[in-house]
Amino acid sequence: MPGFLSPLIEPGFFSNLPVQTALVVGGVVAVVSGIVGTFTVMRGQSFAGHSLADIGTAGGSAAFVLGISPLFGYVAMNLMAAGVMEWIGIRRPRGRDLATGIVLGAALGLAALFLYLDTTASSTTGATVNVLFGSIFTLPASMVPFIAIFSVVAAGIVLVMYRPLILTSISADLAIAQGIRVRLVGIGYLVALALAVSLSAVTIGAILSTALLIGPAATALRITNRTGRAAVIAAGIGVTATWLGVLLAYDSYYWFPNGGGWPVSFFVVTLIFLGYLVSQLRFSGRAVAQRRSSAAQAP
């Protein structure tokens, strides 16, 4: 390691096994979230994404009660919730937000029950912290293959449906006119979204997982005019924030107040938010300037 980095990187960072797992898993999950998140923002489904994240809390805490990995709880619960949202949303085309809200309320009630059972059964707050704020440093190696499979499926769905997804995001009517089965694309997309939210719930926690999904994508959409590039930039921002977050969390072991370290999800979410703020200031200024100059050129 170059000497000038030593004040930034505490000794033992790269040789620490939990850190290595965290960097690999966090990186993969950030890439998936960036790709899927770009379409979440384009399709205006940020609310659905956030609701899936909250609903996943119920699944994750239920998994603890059953003694299995929370990842399976998130995936099962999110897929189910996505199915219910789709079903209600189709029957009442304008009721999508309403349907999401109703499912969300019911699921959070379940989460309250399961988290209560978790804490009373084990008399620790471990399960609660794990579900709400993630478990990137305590992931068992046995979960890595499952994370890899879910990642490939989520990113794969979006990449395979890339062009139909863009067209349906622009306008359902336009997509139908071109022979696209809009409902099928919508269902496929919700599956990818449910998986992406579950994966980021594992790394930065169920209630924060939308930050990784929406934040980098919203920033990327301001930076570039091209869909593919936006997805790549969003993935890059997510990976950068996650890796820096892991590093800072590792460093924070010696920080205020008593050597317990700060949670990695705090750093990741804060870094993503700062990135968005910078892009807002920088690129909204540029867009205005561009609009003015093109207005001046017009005959």
Binding site: V41, R163, I166, I170, D173, L174, A177, A220, N225, R226
Partner: protein, 193 residues
């Protein structure tokens, strides 16, 4: 082409990308860069006079520019018939005229039948060949000259209608009894061949 598509300014999509999706937007998998495809898109952008703003974000274009891009998107798959639902809705007078001229040129140059539904046929009168006029549950069909006359329109609406010729242009104006006109939903389908 569907009526009134609102293109979101936040959508990271250039005008040229939207036109390209007209070729293969329904396909699965990632698009591969191809010089023939690029040439095809360039030619289409040229044909609708959109080369100037090809690299701009579609959501930031004016209504008339967006309409031209959407027409290019529909045309690039080389259809024999172009169906447009209210393509002039929500356009200012200048953009309206541009879109009308473009549609007339495409119909003639590319030998495509263009079928348009519209509530206001005035801007289309100079270019349309045949018309299906629907009003009060009745239909009048024929060439523009046959249908767009005071007698035939008055008969169709049951309200006095004037067809006025000004500066080589024809204007259709409803006369008295405005009440009756408001109740009859009218729609005309215009065909350019």
């Amino acid at each position: 082409m569907p009526q009134r598509i609102t293109l979101d300014p936040d959508m990271p999509l250039r005008a040229r990308d939207l036109v390209g999706l007209g070729i293969d937007g329904q396909r699965f998998g990632l698009p591969l860069p191809s010089t023939t495809r690029r040439k095809q898109v360039d030619d289409m952008l040229e044909a609708v006079d959109a080369t100037r703003f090809a690299e701009s974000r579609v959501g930031n274009l004016s209504g008339g520019e967006q309409q031209r891009i959407l027409i290019a998107h529909a045309l690039i798959s080389r259809p024999r018939l172009l169906l447009l639902d209210e393509p002039l809705a929500n356009l200012d007078l200048g953009s309206e005229q541009e879109v009308v001229d473009l549609l007339a040129r495409i119909a003639r140059e590319q030998r495509i039948a263009v079928l348009i539904s519209t509530h206001d046929m005035n801007p289309l009168l100079p270019v349309m060949d045949r018309i299906v006029y629907i009003a009060n549950g009745r239909i009048a069909t024929g060439t523009t000259a046959e249908v767009v006359s005071s007698e035939s329109l008055t008969k169709l609406y049951g309200v006095h209608v004037d067809v006025i010729h000004v500066h080589d242009r024809i204007l259709v104006v409803a006369g008295r009894r405005e009440e009756a006109l408001q109740h009859g939903d009218t729609e005309s389908i215009v065909e350019l061949v």
